[in-house]
């Protein structure tokens, strides 16, 4: 078992004919992901990487019944691509594109309220992978092994590091979800934790957080309320300097939350051991 994506998920790649879209579609196919269609405006009716290409996501859904989408379009078009996917009925939308303006994402988040079944992952994220079955995004298959650990991370390369370490230690993963590092994003740690909680095949989770925002704190609260999962957390950015502040607005809103200290304390309070370095994670899971 797994969460969000498995070998039966039918996937549309938005921006399939682009450089990134092409490369990663091949990678996704190599793992066995059921990529059923791609979109590329103006290229509807053609075929790319053995997959039919449509002008719009709605056309792709109508023709294939796909339910998940991976977005590989340039940042200026990415917010629109997410809304298009939601409005076409996608229930899983994975947006890899980075550099999307924050105000675009704020509007997208509001738009998605109208599509409660649409789950967004990202943007600016490596996507997700269920080892041995399927992936949407760019997480390299070779850092993964099938197993029972759920991995949720805000950082791309740290995900790969930890995935590699877990696999090397013989600790396989149920699903790895890179939720992305942008300030305004789709699924949060807590949202993904809820999914792992319901997934019987997952018995342990690793949470790789970062300074900024309160999503880690909310995840800790969720676990504190009682979880069957054995969890380990890691927070990067303990020594990162605060950005040079110009005004006070940010401080008024965030107060003391968002620091590595606040996040680590929240996890410890919830009974979740916090790794000092990523190397320590394997040991804490044993």
């Amino acid at each position: 078992m797994s969460i969000l994506v498995d070998s039966t998920t039918s996937v549309v790649v938005q921006g399939i004919t682009g450089r990134e879209g092409s490369f990663h579609t091949e990678q996704m196919q190599a793992l066995g992901t059921k990529v059923v269609a791609g979109t590329s405006p103006g290229k509807g009716g053609t075929t790319h990487l053995g997959v039919p290409v449509f002008n719009t996501v709605a056309d792709a859904v109508e023709a294939t019944g796909a339910t998940a989408s991976g977005i590989f379009v340039p940042a200026p078009f990415a917010a629109d691509a997410i809304m298009e996917a939601a409005s076409a009925g996608m229930t899983l939308i994975v947006c890899i594109s980075e550099g999307i303006p924050i105000q675009d994402m704020i509007r997208v988040k509001d738009f998605l309220h109208g599509y409660p079944l649409a789950r967004l992952i990202g943007a600016n994220c490596p996507g997700l992978i269920t080892p041995g079955q399927a992936k949407i995004g760019i997480i390299p298959q070779r850092i993964t092994t099938p197993g029972s650990i759920g991995l949720i991370s805000r950082s791309g390369t740290l995900t790969y590091e930890v995935g590699t370490a877990l696999s090397a230690a013989g600790m396989g993963q149920s699903t790895i979800v890179g939720i992305g590092g942008d300030p305004v994003l789709g699924l949060t740690f807590r949202d993904v934790l809820e999914l792992f909680e319901k997934d019987e095949a997952t018995t342990q989770v690793v949470i790789i957080g970062e300074i900024g925002g309160s999503d880690e704190e909310h995840a800790a609260e969720f676990i504190a309320r009682g979880s069957r999962l054995k969890a380990v957390a890691f927070i990067s950015g303990r020594t990162a300097p605060e950005g040079k502040r110009m005004g006070h607005a940010g401080a008024i809103v965030s107060g003391n939350r968002g620091t590595a200290k606040s996040k680590e304390e929240a996890f410890r309070k919830a009974g979740v051991p916090v790794a000092e370095t990523t190397d320590d994670i394997v040991g804490l899971l044993r």
Binding site: P101, I102, Q103, G181, A240, K244, G247, H248, A249, S254
Partner: protein, 379 residues
């Protein structure tokens, strides 16, 4: 992009918000000329950072001669790492009261938050801590923007009922900075009610989303070149790198923000201090590595460099070769420790070793090694 006060005020002016008369001065003579046109002025350092008042960056000048002297003192001074490029000479206001008005992104709410308070001025953060209720808040719907009744409620909540109408109009204008300029933060503090009853922006802070720069090329063109910040950051920006200067002496390069931050953490844990944060992104191409190394080596304080790269798509042997080329091209003599992991990491490490570069197996080991080498002062 963080705009300077005078730039932010130009934007406010274009949105229809009242600002005091003011003139930019790049020299002491210009400041004197400005004062002779405007009368008594405040001479204000233009830097994209808070706290300039306490740093001596704002002086009142009653006469052109005083303005000249103030500008002489202020232009070129260093405020939190920024060399003051110019001053803004602004006519003094007859202040009746000072309010606070601002918006920013509340990342937990995934929304913009508007804030209004009758207690404006310098100490607004203290106000926020001690009497949070005195700051009225509103989360406008991002498509609709703030509605009239919501703004009326905001004004009443802030205890500014008598100003409902002008305040509603003013906040709607300020809010236009979001759809029109992709503003992430805008702050008018103090928002001055003058003795004549006008509402005028006393100070202004405006941050524009760099990710939306393609939508606002005019702004970048008009204002991008003025700010003289940290020279390494300026150089890094030119080379398209994500780079932040820090206080220490160990240069850091990593791929991915998370990996880069955790490398900083490890260096500190090992007893060292990072000279910078430099994220070279996913690919770790030779050219990018060379650019990053070049910027880091500009900094004379740097005594050694730690590179921490995970080879995901790019293979470890290729990354290693790229690093060696970069080092050789730059004739780098300082200690260099490289931690390579991911695909073909063994081959990569072997190449490094053959070329006289210390490879680290784990990031923690690599961090310890670079700290040790820089402390020893090895060349």
């Amino acid at each position: 992009m963080k705009l300077l006060e005078y730039q932010a005020k130009e934007v406010l002016d274009s949105l229809g918000i009242a600002i005091p008369p003011g003139l930019v001065a790049r020299t002491a003579d210009e400041a004197a000329a400005a004062a002779s046109r405007l009368g008594p002025v405040a001479v204000k350092a233009q830097v994209p950072v808070g706290g300039r008042g306490k740093a001596g960056g704002i002086k009142l000048a009653g006469t052109p001669e005083e303005a000249r002297k103030a500008a002489e003192l202020i232009i070129g001074m260093d405020i939190k790492g920024f060399k003051v490029p110019l001053v803004y000479c602004e006519a003094a206001l007859e202040i009746e009261r000072e309010l606070y008005l601002g918006f920013t992104v509340d990342r937990d709410a995934r929304a913009n938050i508007l804030m209004l308070s009758a207690k404006g001025g310098m100490d607004i953060e203290q106000v926020a801590e001690e009497s949070p209720d005195s700051i009225a808040r509103l989360y406008p719907n991002p498509w609709r923007g703030p509605l009239d009744f919501e703004l009326a409620q905001l004004a009443y909540d802030a205890g500014l009922g008598e100003l409902v109408r002008p305040m509603t109009a003013l906040i709607k204008k300020l809010y236009r900075a979001i759809p029109d300029y992709d503003a992430l933060t805008a702050e008018i503090n103090p928002l001055v009610v003058t003795k004549a009853g006008d509402i005028v922006a006393g100070d202004a802070k405006l941050e524009i989303d760099d990710n939306a720069a393609w939508r606002h090329k005019d702004l970048e063109q008009r204002y991008g070149a003025v700010i003289q910040g940290d020279p390494y950051e300026v150089e890094a920006k030119k080379r398209g790198l994500t780079y932040v200067s820090l206080e220490g002496d160990i240069g850091i390069i990593g791929n991915g923000a998370g990996l880069c931050m955790s490398t900083l953490d490890l260096v500190q844990r090992a007893g060292g201090q990072a000279a910078n944060f430099c994220d070279i992104g996913g690919g770790a191409k030779a050219e990018v590595v060379e650019n990053a190394l070049a910027v880091i080596l500009m900094n004379r304080r740097v005594k050694g460099v730690l590179i921490n790269v995970f080879g995901g798509i790019t293979r470890g042997d290729e990354v290693a070769k790229g690093i060696i080329t970069a080092r050789d091209n730059l004739q780098m003599k300082l200690p260099l420790v490289v931690r390579l992991s991911g695909t073909r990491e063994e081959e990569g490490r072997e190449i490094l070793r053959r070329n006289g570069i210390e490879p680290g197996v784990s990031a923690w080991e690599a961090a310890q090694k670079i700290v040790e080498l820089t402390k020893a002062g090895v060349r």
